[in-house]
Symmetry: C2
Subunit: 442 residues, 2 copies
């Protein structure tokens, strides 16, 4: 069943998936209706993807995968257990078990956060449950995207499954990071979790998403969509750690509305050798608001990341920073294309992009964009693509380090400044991955 | 006759133009054949232009304009006389008369440079004459472009008229700048001069192009194409001064092959309020070669410039700089999109873009691109879009300058560093234009 489908066949498969999802989830009518809007938009929506020309292949395969449901930690597949161990999660878990939700393939498998936090005003629940329990979800679901923007948004709208609703009530400052894991276990699966984050006035929360897949998976598609709404003075950190093997394609779609004096810090750590096209994220920033996008990329093998992001500084004094650092090895490719629009007085925006090319088959492209219509806004960007400076290497080697150790230290020193919002347990794990990668051990 | 033509009508008009040009110029067969290649490519060639959607309108009008020929300085139209005076040319002329060629509409009207320089190995002659006299022209004519790239290249190939061939023999260092003027006098004219520059080994030359149009001209199109070939160690400076009124569209097309250790410095000064789309220039740089693109832009009224440029650093140690400075007033728009490709070891490239927005209806967009596949190349870019700093204004005003004088001084100080290759006579004139513009007098 790996031959390419016709669009008509694909629509039939999507319609089957919608029916199955609607039946299984017993979801409200508006949810199913919205799915059909996605189906309707699918045929005519535009589609262009640099590394995934045949979306229909994935859809063909997605049909074959049974939607599994795992209800407790004991049901975890061994690969995920190993992952959690490898990422230091067993310890994190003990402290932060409240916030741990794990999604395997298309079912949320662990979702046992403490009921007392819900009483305090923190809700983190599977999206399937949220659409039934919380009327406020409907007002925020698929409001920052429209189904017909492209085939991926249309497909996501039709078959989204899993994901979470995260709600933080006014003034609540959640004292621990919440964790969300995505694990792809099956081949050719279009995993399409939908995440809505709603941070009320002056609330604070940090959500950490980890993504990986066991090495045996072939050609999978991870198609998540995140919509974040930050009310006045709210602070949301979203840290996404991706460590996909080479046959996994991710097309994360993230958009956020950042209210007056609110701040949104979105850090993406991309490791491994998967293929990501961070498709058309958008951030709208109101008066005095702040958005910061950090991209930390360590590309190996034929890793491919196309990292975009448009910021609209719409309110007076709104600020935005888009910073990326990439270490590009082997035959991997990194493309960055942040754009900042200054649309109100006293706004400030900065884009920076630094890359170390570690191989002459590695490739870096950067296309920042600045657009200003405002005479007292300040926009700037800077970029540098180069290699590790020989003086630095020689200096460290003269201090007794081997070339490998010196290189590892320089790469760490290059990437770590952007890891400031990542908890230490993860930084330790990321360091191990950097060391393994730079020593050629991965 | 201002309604839009069909493509078939346009082709018939172009064919008429070709026949008329071929007959009038008594040109060699290969020239006319090439024109027909352009005609052939015109129909299917792609076309997209942000501000000039109806190319066919210009073609319709072009038909109506008689191709005039003026043979001596006395025949100069009064507008051009005024321009030459305004640009200080009457003095320059006395010194540099050798290099002065003036093209009015589609005929080269003044082309009287000293015969002794031709004996020394400097040739600067009208392109119509060059294609007949110098076999070497054929080897270099339309070799850096292909007719079918887009409708503008196809159209240019078909109906090019005027322009010059500039040849500098091995080792000759031309001690004075050569001047070339384009003046559009008629409405809706597609002026399409073709320029070939051929700088032999270790030669040196500086060509200054001035472009303007009397204010009465409505909706004209200036579609010049420049092909420059720099052999080993050659040095070519090309300074283009554009001061078009608002209804003139310019679509200059420039490409250069820069040989081993050669250097090409291309400075564009864009004043006035015309619409330019500096369409897809390309620069290929060989081992040890150097290319520098400077853009100095002072946008007024609804000035629109889209300034591109791709550099390919193909030889070891090749270097490229793309620097632009823009002062953007009124409702004008400036877009810059330089791209540097590092394709060989030890190459270095830098893009910078600085802009002052002087009005909240002015617009700046910048999209630099860096592409590297080489692990010991160094690429970087930086940009800043902002306004005149209040501290600087206040400081100058505290020294007794009026706000207007202080602003003029800051704008001059901002733009002038890139004017280093422009002769002082022109810098003086450019200063006057800046002063008039900033004081709202234009």
């Amino acid at each position: 069943m790996s031959e390419t489908l016709t669009i008509k066949d694909a629509k039939a498969i999507i319609e089957n998936q919608i029916e199955e999802l609607a039946k299984r989830n017993k979801e409200p009518e508006w949810v199913t209706k919205l799915r059909y809007k996605g189906l309707e938009a699918f045929e005519t929506a535009p589609y262009s993807d640099p590394v995934l020309p045949n979306l229909l292949d994935f859809i063909a395969k997605a049909e074959e995968v049974p939607i599994s449901e795992i209800r407790s930690l004991e049901d975890l597949p061994p690969e995920m257990k190993a992952l959690l161990d490898r990422l230091g999660i067993s310890e994190v878990e003990q402290k932060y078990i409240a916030g741990l939700a794990v999604q395997s393939d298309t079912g949320v498998i662990y979702n046992e956060f403490l009921k007392q936090w819900e009483k305090k005003g923190l809700i983190m629940t599977s999206m399937e449950e949220a659409v039934k329990r919380f009327p406020i979800v409907k007002e925020h679901f698929m409001k920052l995207f429209s189904p017909g923007e492209n085939k991926l948004t249309a497909y996501h709208t039709a078959v989204w499954n899993g994901g979470v609703f995260l709600y933080v009530k006014e003034g609540l400052k959640v004292p621990f990071p919440l964790h969300l894991f995505f694990l792809i276990q099956e081949s050719s699966l279009a995993q399409a979790p939908h995440i809505v984050i709603l941070a009320e006035k002056n609330s604070e929360v940090h959500l950490i998403e980890g993504c990986t897949s066991p090495v045996l998976v072939k050609h999978s598609l991870h198609l998540d969509m995140t919509e974040a709404y930050l009310h006045e003075g709210a602070s949301v950190k979203l840290s996404v750690l991706q460590n996909w093997p080479e046959y996994v394609h991710t097309r994360p779609m993230t958009r956020a509305k950042i209210g007056k004096n609110a701040q949104f810090i979105n850090t993406t750590v991309g490791l491994g050798s998967g293929k990501s096209n961070i498709a058309n994220p958008k951030y709208w920033v109101d008066e005095g608001g702040y958005v910061e996008l950090n991209g930390i990329l360590l590309g190996q093998k034929d890793f491919y990341v196309d990292l975009g992001g448009e910021m609209y500084l719409q309110g007076k004094g709104a600020r935005g920073i888009n910073a990326s650092k990439a270490v590009i090895m082997d035959e991997s490719t990194v493309i960055t294309r942040g754009i900042i629009h200054a649309q109100a007085p006293k706004t400030k925006g900065h884009i920076s992009c630094d890359a170390l090319l570690m191989s002459d088959k590695a490739k870096m492209e950067t296309y920042p964009g600045l657009v200003s219509r405002v005479d007292d806004a300040e926009l700037s960007h800077e970029a540098a693509i180069g290699k590790i400076k020989e003086e630095e290497l020689f200096y460290l080697m003269s201090r007794g380090l081997s070339e490998e150790e010196a290189t590892q230290l320089i790469v760490r020193g290059f990437l770590e400044p952007l890891l400031k919002d990542i908890p230490m347990e993860f930084v330790v794990e990321i360091r191990k991955i950097i060391e393994l990668a730079v020593s050629g051990g991965m």
